[in-house]
């Protein structure tokens, strides 16, 4: 029998394999990544310039604070988008390339497979978010005199566990219905972002949307990052926010894995692991 240590070693090598594969793909599609980065930077600029636009049209606002507020929202939107895209496409991407059956018949645990996808998404998304923040920041005077960057990154990393869990929940959709599933993944991502106060406080939302905001990890991630960057809040001050994010993550990851497992059984029952595209 294989020892626990050997099994753990195999699973860790498998996680590394998922990351390795995504690195190869990133290298092969690097100019697409550059193009999407430029597009996201341009899109972020159009949003952040709204702060100056309000002042130019006569509004009395703290422009530096508003531009920083909008920039944080846009960067986190981009970060979440990458995480959801990578994890949601765990199935859709492989089905398109035709490798899905080979991945699903390998002895790698599904949790290890998805952990590899999530780990790559978090690292890639974080690097990309920092690049966008840095590039767009060059265009504005930002309100960062009290910023606690370390605390902001810790909040983002803790929140990423929940985001990965929700990503795994949406990744199951293409297993159940190859095309509609991928479409529903985008819808879920959009809904999550709208209710989470990306460019506005959630207090402005209608009451029914506030309920959704209260259970969205993005709400707490945005609050935490803004508190850290705009007001210099430290990790001690943000204990309750981090606690809620840990709690949501502790629910989302097992729920995501259970849903994915059920989706995989459904796909195997109905013959949906075959190639499409």
């Amino acid at each position: 029998m294989r020892s626990r240590a050997q099994l753990l070693r195999s699973e860790l090598i498998g996680v590394a394999g998922v990351i390795e594969r995504n690195l190869y793909l990133t290298r092969r599609y690097i100019w697409w990544d550059v193009a999407f980065l430029v597009w996201t930077v341009a899109n972020t600029l159009t949003i952040v310039f709204i702060g100056r636009g309000i002042e130019a049209s006569g509004g009395a606002i703290d422009v530096e604070r508003v531009t920083t507020y909008l920039l944080i929202g846009a960067v986190i939107w981009a970060y979440l988008g990458i995480i959801f895209e990578f994890i949601t496409e765990t199935v859709a991407w492989e089905r398109w390339e035709g490798t899905i059956e080979y991945t699903f018949m390998a002895p790698l645990r599904r949790s290890a497979h998805l952990a590899g996808m999530a780990a790559f998404a978090v690292v890639y998304g974080l690097i990309r978010a920092l690049l966008i923040f840095g590039i767009v920041g060059l265009f504005f005077d930002l309100s960062l005199s009290n910023a606690n960057f370390l605390a902001a990154i810790v909040v983002l990393l803790v929140a990423s566990v929940s985001f990965a869990g929700i990503g795994i929940m949406t990744a199951v959709l293409p297993l159940i219905s190859p095309e509609k599933g991928a479409q529903l993944g985008f819808v879920a991502q959009g809904v999550l972002l709208v209710v989470s106060g990306i460019y506005y406080p959630v207090s402005v939302l209608p009451d029914w949307m506030k309920w959704l905001a209260a259970i969205s990890p993005a709400t707490y991630a945005l609050d935490g990052v803004r508190d850290a960057l705009l007001d210099g809040a430290d990790l001690t001050t943000m204990g309750p926010t981090l606690g809620i994010l840990v709690l949501i993550g502790a629910v989302c990851i097992p729920a995501g894995l259970a849903l994915f497992s059920a989706g995989e059984r459904y796909a195997k029952r109905h013959g949906k692991l075959k190639r499409s595209g």
């Binding site: 390795e20 092969r28 029952r269």
Partner: protein
Amino acid sequence: MSQPHPILETPPQVLTAAPAIEVIELRKEFRRKAPRTATGPRRRRIAALDGVTFTVARGETVAILGQNGSGKSTLVRLLSTLLLHDGGTAKVFGHDVFREPRAVRRLVNRVSVEASFFKKMSAAENLSYAARFYGISARETRDEIPRILGRVGFPINRRTEPMENLSRGMQQKVALARALLTAPVLLLLDEPTTGLDPRSKLEVQKFVREIRDVHDATILLCTHDMTEADTLADRVGIIDRGKLLALKTPDALKRHYGTATLEEAFFAATGRTFAEDSDEGEDDEDDEREVLA
């Protein structure tokens, strides 16, 4: 025990007394679109496999002949743990395919008619990450990937080219290398030479023969090619509309049906030629997907 693999510290666990494959009354059904009626259901159930029973001994090569939609690929997918069954049992070296899928996955690999890869990635990259999924580290594959590619007749100097630049025959050789890299003791070949040019086909067949003769691998080969089945297999099975009609040595099969060739034996068994495609069975997986997509 199987022959130790050069790069695996722990070879897959094989229960030596058990047959390589033991399938008893295996059933798999798919739902199929049906014309809407006032009272009847919109879908009907089609048996892709209908009570299939057979055993493959360790080290044996068995070919399964059947038309498109006869159930061959469904059988391979069930044994690969890619489908769940609707009845019966299937064991691989004593491990229940549906209750112990991870144990089975360590023992099995598959080469299908489509050499499925990430097309922008190179052969070496595709093999490298695939090996990781079987717990094989980068240190272990560094020398092994060029060696295995060389063995299947793939030009080593092209291993860093994107797969999309390679011919279909080349891609199929990489698919064979991918399967071999994980040291499977049961190799499932689902029409591995379909669509290949004659030279590539002969090279792939030569390599399959080598795996059979040199290694302690058991091979289940699903094919359309009668000559391939006749020359490579110890026994040949005929499957039609989900039922396994016969499984004997090629000579015994010809004697049983009183024919001179396997093709004639196939016709005698099924009443049909290979040119006639079935519209039943496994193709219904696609039909169902279209309904729900």
